[in-house]
């Protein structure tokens, strides 16, 4: 009965404060749109300078290979100096340079060099561009051999299969990862701020002075925000599936269940922050620093955890988003892979339990002050 009253009070408080609703529903939409459209690691139409010092049929077909590739937007430059100037001014990201003796060496000795210069400032992009250049090169060699009625003689040919995401579309893994980032924001930031405000204004003490138990108080606070957060999650999933066309290979209910676990862990984290800081200013900053940035960088959402130094890998185990991102990427792209889902779900459960216990400990101790 008391609990129901509290739930009603908290729900009304959310409904009447438009900023909470804004965090739960407007923010996911804005963030998903921004990320979904704004974040892409797939380089398309990379501006590329092409310098051909002595045109021939072979250089023309190689150039056509670059022009027909989706990855490049080639531009002609008369000399290598001009092309290098354009590279320095960041007008092009790379140069393909066919020297005057290209055709001669192609016909006689072989190993005619195709000079490639890339701007290495963005190392990741540069590496991808190198890969695309190699692709064009191999395709051109094969085409050329076929046109001459020969077979390209190379000892080993690499056949590649990329599972779960055959067209290597980065949206397919970024959007699921984003759901984790967005839920972290809703859960931790919202609860941290709201509850810290109650401490700051003294309304928390007023509530404590009533016969309401601490446990009821906490549940009353959490349930409405839990519902709000899950609403934001469903909205994000719907947008991911229908707007960004990300496939959901696994089952929906596993997704909901895993999200509920993750939501509990982040809510507990927000609550813990607010209980420890009891100040909106500090709570807000701590929430940003310990939740959003780690969820972005240490969760495996963009950067591969397995390549981090072992100390950092160890730290990532303290970031709940890490487990959720692993679950999400498997659920969306690979299916219900239980060996991935179960251990990560267990970790989330453990996280939620430990954090709630810490909250209880803090509030029990503080009550005596």
């Amino acid at each position: 009965m008391r609990l129901r009253g509290l739930l009603r009070k908290e729900s009304l408080q959310i409904l009447r404060d438009p900023s909470s609703i804004a965090i739960a529903f407007v923010m996911p939409v804005v963030l998903l749109l921004l990320f979904g459209y704004g974040v892409s690691l797939d380089a398309k139409n990379v501006p590329l300078a092409v310098v051909v010092e002595q045109p021939s049929a072979d250089t023309a077909s190689l150039e056509a290979g670059f022009a027909y590739s989706n990855y490049f937007a080639p531009r002609h430059f008369a000399s290598i100096q001009e092309a290098q100037g354009a590279l320095e001014r960041r007008e092009v990201d790379g140069i393909v340079w066919l020297r005057a003796d290209f055709a001669r060496r192609l016909a006689s000795t072989g190993n005619a060099p195709i000079g490639v210069i890339v701007n290495g400032v963005n190392a990741n992009q540069a590496r991808l561009v190198q890969g695309y250049v190699q692709g064009v090169w191999i395709g051109w060699l094969e085409q050329r051999a076929r046109n001459r009625g020969e077979e390209l003689r190379q000892p080993v040919r690499l056949e590649q299969r990329i599972w779960f995401n055959a067209e290597v579309r980065s949206t397919n893994y970024l959007v699921p990862g984003l759901i984790a980032v967005i839920m972290t924001l809703i859960g931790a930031l919202l609860t941290a701020l709201v509850v810290a405000r109650e401490w700051e204004r003294g309304t928390m003490e007023a509530l404590m002075a009533t016969p309401v138990r601490m446990r009821e108080l906490l549940i009353g606070k959490l349930v409405p925000y839990f519902i709000l957060g899950m609403g934001g999650m469903l909205l994000s999933v719907a947008m991911g599936l229908w707007l960004f066309r990300v496939p959901l290979a696994g089952s929906f209910w596993v997704l909901v269940l895993a999200s509920a676990l993750f939501m509990s862990a982040t809510l507990a984290m927000g609550l813990l922050i607010s209980v420890v800081t009891r100040n909106q200013f500090v709570a807000g900053q701590v929430a940003i620093i310990v939740t959003f940035l780690p969820a972005f960088i240490l969760s495996g959402f963009i950067f591969e955890i397995r390549s981090m130094p072992w100390i950092i890998q160890w730290i990532t185990h303290l970031v709940p988003a890490r487990y959720f991102v692993a679950i999400l990427q498997s659920l969306f792209l690979a299916g219900d892979v239980w060996p991935v889902v179960l251990p990560n779900a267990a970790a989330l459960l453990l996280f939620a339990a430990v954090l709630f216990a810490l909250v209880r400990l803090r509030t029990a101790a503080k009550r005596l002050e």
């Binding site: 704004g38 690691l41 991808l128 050329r144 080993v156 299969r161 893994y173 498997s330």
Partner: protein, 369 residues
């Protein structure tokens, strides 16, 4: 006038640094984040766990596997001896890649025919998959060329020879660490300023400030100074750590860097103060700062290139001061840029700074509660 502004700035400083917790939040997290994120945020992969399914078991296939084992990028963790072993190894994320060599590999090679080698990559993170593919492709290409030379095969008609400017070994840390300098400077300067007006509004002391003989410009300067000073000091420390701790080369002109840093701080503090004066409460101010911060980071080109974004989103990035500062700092660090090469990055930040600051000053008197 000068003395009054100084007194106001001093008061702001004290308000920020007097409280132990807010002092901690301003000083400690940026450095911890610099360390953790600089080590974590890398697109370079090393020790990628992979499995081998070698049906051939000849000297040739073993030599190819040895090339993978010897590469710092790969780490052999599993040997598979039946077709059925591939799926579970990838599904469970035990390995990121399986190298499959068919039973006729060496037979084909010795007959002088092209032998296929197959790789299967986990595409759940498509960027990682592409990088792994590039590493594998270059190992196989090297093996193939060496085999051709040693066994008297004809040379390949043409080869690609690549050079990377500014970052010859394509270390993505050189790209990320300067980016983190920009990111942390933005976070710190926003946090310092976003709450400064809102806190006084909430406490009612802002009205008192407005009825003093201080002009809005003076109040503005007093509020902006601490942010600029804290921002410059912290950014300088972080830059020093980037150079001496992480060994990122600083090739350009410090003057160019500091002109950019000052203008960047001007714009980020302008945005912080604008948010702060728009907000009625601290909570709104924090949320506002946050709602600015997240898209500002994502759309800045910090992790993903702006050129990959759709046209409309690219237009939005022109409003993001971090976008310009990242070009400045990466330009100065890696490309050795000077002041005149960066003019096109400076003036948009100046415009953003001046317009947001004047808007904030106007809001001081026109937004009363």
């Amino acid at each position: 006038m000068g003395a009054i502004i100084f007194a106001l700035a001093r008061k702001e400083f004290l308000a920020l640094l007097k409280d132990k917790r807010s002092r901690f939040v301003i000083v400690v997290p940026p450095f911890v984040q610099l360390l953790v994120f600089s080590f974590a945020a890398s697109f370079d992969l090393n020790n990628v766990p992979f499995a081998v399914y070698n049906e051939d078991r000849s000297a040739a296939s073993r030599a190819l596997v040895a090339r993978f084992e010897g590469s710092p990028h790969f780490n052999l963790v599993q040997r598979i001896d039946a077709d059925g072993g591939i799926t579970p190894a990838i599904d469970r994320r035990d390995v990121l890649m399986v190298l499959h060599i068919g039973p006729q590999f060496s037979e084909q090679l010795l007959l002088g025919r092209t032998a296929p080698a197959q790789i299967i990559i986990d595409g759940r993170n498509s960027n990682t998959a592409l990088i792994v593919l590039n590493y594998a492709r270059s190992i196989v290409t090297d093996f193939s060329q060496d085999w051709a030379r040693e066994h008297g095969w004809p040379l390949s008609p043409a080869v690609v020879s690549t050079r990377a400017w500014f970052n010859p070994n394509l270390e993505s840390r050189w790209f990320i660490v300067p980016g983190i300098v920009g990111l942390l400077t933005l976070v710190v300067s926003l946090l310092v300023t976003a709450l400064s007006v809102a806190r006084e509004r909430e406490a009612g002391s802002f009205d008192q400030l407005l009825v003093t003989p201080l002009r809005p410009t003076a109040i503005l300067l007093g509020k902006a100074l601490p942010g600029i000073i804290i921002g410059i000091v912290e950014a300088s420390l972080i830059i020093a750590i980037a150079v001496y701790g992480f060994g990122v080369p600083l090739r350009g002109d410090l003057l160019a860097l500091y002109v950019g840093l000052s203008l960047f701080l001007l714009s980020s503090i302008g945005i912080g103060l604008m948010i702060s004066s728009l907000a009625a409460t601290q909570q709104q101010a924090l949320l506002g700062a946050f709602l600015f911060l997240v898209p500002a980071v994502i759309l800045s080109g910090f992790a993903t290139p702006i050129a990959n974004m759709p046209r409309a989103v690219q237009l939005i990035t022109y409003l993001d001061p971090l976008r310009y500062f990242l070009v400045v700092i990466r330009g100065v660090f890696l490309e050795g840029s000077t002041v005149d090469a960066l003019l096109h990055q400076y003036w948009p930040m100046a415009i953003i700074g001046v317009s947001t600051l004047s808007f904030a000053a106007w809001l001081f008197r026109h937004r009363m509660y």
